[in-house]
Amino acid sequence: MHDPVNSAGLLLIGETSMSSGSDGPVLQLLGQYAEGAVRVAFHLTRDRDGALDISQEAYVKAMQSLGTLRKGESLRVWFNRIVVNLSRDWLRRKKIEQRGVETLRTRGVATVREPEAELQDREEAEQLREALMQLPLATREAVVLVCVEGFTPQEAAGMLGIPDGTLRSRLHDGREQLRKMWSDDE
């Protein structure tokens, strides 16, 4: 039976009936970025349904605007730029930035009995996510793309449409603020 998820747990969109068209190979390539898209959208919006919606919409946008992909440009960077822009639009619509943090616990994510160490890891990760959400959107974008997703500062600056120096400055501010919040929490 066809399994849409490969061994690394990544989606292989396009191996279905839709892939018979010319879009199939592109979708398959983009499919490997599904996890990252969900993650970026979630870290920027802090909304589970929003993150799924944004990342799914990113595929539609990507297929519509394939022409904007420049020669030699990384597909991952290009796709994540779409995700970032959609997340910004989503935040603008929902205006949740001012509303503050909505924790995963209230969204009903399953909590299972876990070993204590793992539970502590989860809690720490959760605290960090909440701390991330306290950052201003521009700073958060820089931290999420570079520190969480592992993009280079140049790639992140390109995705956000800002100069390298501005990104590095935002990154520095973000890390400082996070460090402060992190030490407060600890």
Partner: protein
Amino acid sequence: MSDSMDKRLRELGEGTPFPVDWRAYEAEVLRRLAVEQQRERRRRWLWAAGSAFCGAAAMFVLMIWTIRTDAKPAEGAAPLMQVNNPSEPPPVHIPTPAGSPNEPVFVRANGKPEGIGAPFTRRIVRKDGRVGEIRFGGFSSADAPEGEISFISIVESGVR
């Protein structure tokens, strides 16, 4: 502390922050793509239909405009209506017989020849505006039942 924070941040970049049903996710992406494709097709169809309609409308307007412009007399041009001298007999319009304009042609009259036996000349105005004369030279045979006539010539005398 900083290292630990960086490590934690990097860990946030692994997997997804919540469980995702990838099958449902993929199905939803494909559904949205299908909807978008359909919308795009409809959009293209509407554009094509709109363009065709606009093109046809433009052609129609252009045609009407051309016809009206052609029909309008030029500034200072002679009036379209023939103004006759009351003393002259009214000009008649006749279909132009085939042949050279100034050569006599034989025509067959449909009526009886009574009353118009004598030769005569009459001014005519063609439908295209040219003026001429029709000269009737008499009947070829006065007894002919259908009034066979001859020596009709149409003489061009220029444009009005």
